[in-house]
Symmetry: D2
Subunit: 357 residues, 4 copies
């Protein structure tokens, strides 16, 4: 049972609603004696927090994390780490008929269908604010992984406009408000998203996450596959509709000859792969190549254009979402994607150590 | 921990290797008093079994299932159901240098990297023979779901050739060896795959699985999401490299206006959705619309064209896979996809009942 | 993996140390639409909190619970419920050589052996303060169970002095500081424990927990047995060294004739049991009779008499525990026992509903 | 969810009924490269199998185990190990009114109350035959633990007659049909049990299990405690009604001074404990001393003396159990107890390695 828990050995449970007093997570299973301070976590939260450019929601949240347990004299103790982030800008307002209407693309209707009740303030539990807790957990997961593994994500497509792969540069990612690895494309996106934002519209995106330095042998057949775990990790992020590993959907178009990642003898007796169609995973187990995951984020469902819907009484209504929102929610999914990659890898590192010593 | 177990309340554990004496699964948590006989399972296994056309491997396996426990006088008893399928055509042969060489695209290298040992006969545990156990479990899951839910899958793309959606007809699916819902496309695929087969090559495919009749309210935030569970379910199938829900990767290209599934008042006070970009899932919970999942299957890695690789000693080798293989392994993934959809839904039906009564 | 999580469908994860800023728990899986307010929980915490008589530790903690998530407009929403209790009396003091010495009977040495680090302030994570979170979770579990099930616990033995069963009266339990169901025995215990307290010594106890109104059919073979779950629940409470169901250890002394709980036809076609040696559980499943569990609590390890031990450097030391402590820690185990019974039953109620409708 | 699965990292799932074609278990998570053959398991099964003396049931079962998967060329591969034992002496007979009557002390009534159906042949799933699968799993767990850990169990009390501790000798255990470590007591038990057997009666027993060589540091607070896991492990064995760790129920009678296991400086900087009231576990974590568990087994419920009961129609009946049965089912619980100790320790060895490296 894991409705609000992710992971097996490195596992975290998140709690909190968009407009409740706070949100957070309990991280269990963390190895002892790791250096851990709030500053190690805050930097990642800052990357995700709203209101940093005109391209993200204008909700003002400092997202300050507090370590409530599990750390003693600056080191992890092996006991559960509780991280808490207070909500400070859950603006008091009249939700009016939004409280009873089902916004298209949101979880309003399905929460009522399931539970018969929902916290309608800011989306309640279904709000992307929950991902702050993931980012915090991801920061701890990076500590578990140690310095040998590099995890980075970038936005590689916005709407129909993908980056130019020949210009891919990780160093560009933090130079623009889109986490875009291609400066030229970032410039074009700026104009485009500005227009979308002014129209009260929104647009989808594709995020790519890459982990380098993962040794061969992590993961496990057949229901603990590293790729299957990454699929559920990414698909659990708000608004994600598809997950690709390596060649992804394109793999369907290839022949066996094209898809084969050939090997040559490499260093230390390890094979040196000549390509990475597999995305660093074969049979659910890492190959030692970069682990490459991409996922599609749908456009923010909150838009200014009126949409037809119904309310809790089954009556026809028109829904317009004013308020604060992200015109491209994919942007803030970038640090969340890194965090989910980190927690999956930390879990598999520990699983591998448990079984294979 | 669930290396070989799938599901929470409806859960099954598979065991067995390609060339061992048998394979099977233990299904735990099945409700009591369901009618269950071997005949209820055999039909689904027959659909998956090899050697049914020239387009699948020529290994001859009757795949006869035996119920070893959990059924008394034709009814489930609530205790674990053990299903066993004996391997009969695990041809004795000289594996020669394949035993020491790493076939590109296969799990040979990663198993050695992880475990230091592998059963190289027919791929051992990494063989797609394991999916026979999934299909058997899926047949039991359908019993749990009952007659109100229809689960069907089809192959909708082979290589670059997708079906024509205007000709989509579920009734065509069993009229051709590809589970193709479009008779015209099936005819073209026949020629194409025949050529590929004769060349000893292989090709990828896209499978679509649809569940109709799923009530609104199944699934759960935030790590028990129905779509996240479907993602891990499909990604765990051999050779799958991408999973899409509803609009899938295309969602990245849409605006908020295009992506919104508008609602009108429907029957019984339920909303009547005007489109299904969501694929029947919002916020991880079913909407009552058809649940739509697609996934990409890479081309079979076993091909006649020599590929460069290394062996267990780190030496350069060339690998050619003769023997029996599927030129398009996506075909036999169709009944497996249905089975995985069924087990995920059965699990969520029970989870929903547990929490929401 | 469940180092800090208890339960399957009704499950809670506790966090926090004795002298950290706060402690709490996340309760996941709670059904929606249950009335829940802090007042529903506080009463149970008050029963457990320290400093209520001279027979318990003089640490002053108000143990005020805050609901941080999962409740909206007074009702549960089906999303995780975070409960937080701030620590207010984590007295600043010089721990001196206690910080490096291993107190006999405490977890000091084993935490160091496992983790290489320990929060020595008040026992850190191994402190019985963690049980406040269990009591809070138990209050929510009672809501899940509803009014038809009565859960009560009592202290039935202190040292070698057991109650007189003929005087057992649940109404007496709250009339004395021992939760003793026998007023006469309570009076004798008062004198005895006063002497022990003044000597700086401590004494063990036996607690009995009884759940009435549990319907027949909860529990499950063979590793989800109701009695096995109760065993792990009670054994996980600090200082517990034995758990009995029904006849318990005495069952070893009985013949088959003596142990048989005979049945006569009862109401509604249900059997009317003539005795309850089974403690309300047969084959791991409830019989409809009262579920009866007893457990032994060892004497508090913190005593004034010097005990031989070693320190972290492997040197011989003498340990004397001054400070605040419970002379009979069994007393405060009573509300904890009720809570653990409640959470196990709530979990099995939901498990039963999931599988058997 | 773990109705039929035990363990976290070393975990096994059992299946099968008393009178079905076979029973077995799937063991998942086993480290690779361990030597494993059927002969390694068979010896333990032989110790448990029925019909070895007049003091156990006369059912004749060879209990021959077959390894169906997970082992290649004599070594574990890291994939699931399926072990199967065929039932050969499930005597065809007329169950007559037993099929509809609820035998006191058996799980007949509770299975019907839960599931509405039961396999009444030989107790079906509730039969102690299930423990054969546990013993098989225990043999594999011993392989995981390696040679440094010794696990032994003995029957230390039959009815009211306990062994004389001064004569405790592990070497005696296999010299008598009771696994009794005291030859003198074994002689007395022989006469006593013979009389009980001839009367068609039965008697309870106490079993003690001791693990030596367990390093300090295995186990985990607060719901992964080694003692709590042992409690659930032993309580899940058929007919067990109580579990004790170390001093057990007697701990309730002790003062803090009596209960303190004092320490002196020992070898390698480790403490040398002066007593073992704790049973080798403090705060849920092993101390390095012997881990000592005892449990009470109730008398076999199958007896010749007529007992009052009801049938499935709610009518009064008298139940007499003829057929084959164990007059003291505690005897055959001895190898089962060893197996459960082994699986719990193997699991915790792997858990410790995962978190603490």
């Amino acid at each position: 049972m894991s409705f609000n828990t992710f992971g097996r050995l490195f596992r975290f449970t998140t709690w909190g609603e968009s407009h409740g007093p706070a949100l957070g997570c309990t991280i269990d299973g963390v190895p002892p004696l790791l250096d851990l301070a709030e500053g190690d976590i805050q930097g990642f939260l800052d990357k995700r927090k709203p209101g940093q450019s005109k391209y993200t929601t204008q909700r003002r949240e400092p997202d300050l994390v507090k370590i409530m347990s599990g750390v003693f004299e600056g080191k992890t103790t092996g006991t559960p780490i509780q991280l808490m982030i207070e909500n400070t800008d859950q603006r008091s307002k009249d939700y009016g008929n939004i409280a009873q209407s089902f916004r298209p693309g949101h979880a309003d209707y399905t929460y009522i269908a399931k539970y018969g009740i929902r916290d309608y303030r800011g989306g309640g539990r279904s709000s992307a604010r929950e991902t702050a807790a993931r980012v915090a957990a991801g920061a701890v997961a990076r500590k578990v992984l140690g310095g040998g593994i590099t995890i980075r994500a970038a936005m590689v497509q916005m709407g129909r406009h993908a980056i130019d792969r020949s210009r891919f540069d990780w160093n560009e990612v933090n130079n623009n408000p889109f986490f875009c690895p291609d400066a030229v494309t970032a410039g074009m996106w700026a104009d485009e998203l500005d227009a979308i934002r002014k129209n009260g519209s929104s647009i989808g995106a594709v995020i790519e996450v890459v982990a380098e330095g993962v040794p061969a042998g992590w993961g496990a057949p057949v229901y603990g596959k590293l790729d299957a775990d990454l699929a559920t990790a990414m698909m659990s992020i708000n608004a994600v509709k598809a997950v690709e590993i390596g060649a992804g959907m394109e793999a369907a178009c290839l022949t066996g000859e094209e898809n084969a990642d050939e090997m040559l003898p490499g260093k230390d007796g390890k094979p040196e792969f000549q390509s990475n169609k597999a995305g660093g995973i074969l049979g659910g187990i890492s190959t030692g190549q970069p682990v490459v995951v991409r996922f599609a984020v749908k456009p923010t469902s909150s838009i200014l254009t009126p949409r037809k819907s119904v309310n809790e009484h089954g009556e026809a209504v028109e829904v317009v979402t004013k308020g604060r929102h992200d015109p491209c929610v994919g942007i803030r999914a970038v640090p969340v994607a890194e965090a989910m990659m980190a927690v999956v890898l930390a879990d598999h590192m520990m699983l591998h150590r448990a079984q294979c010593g």
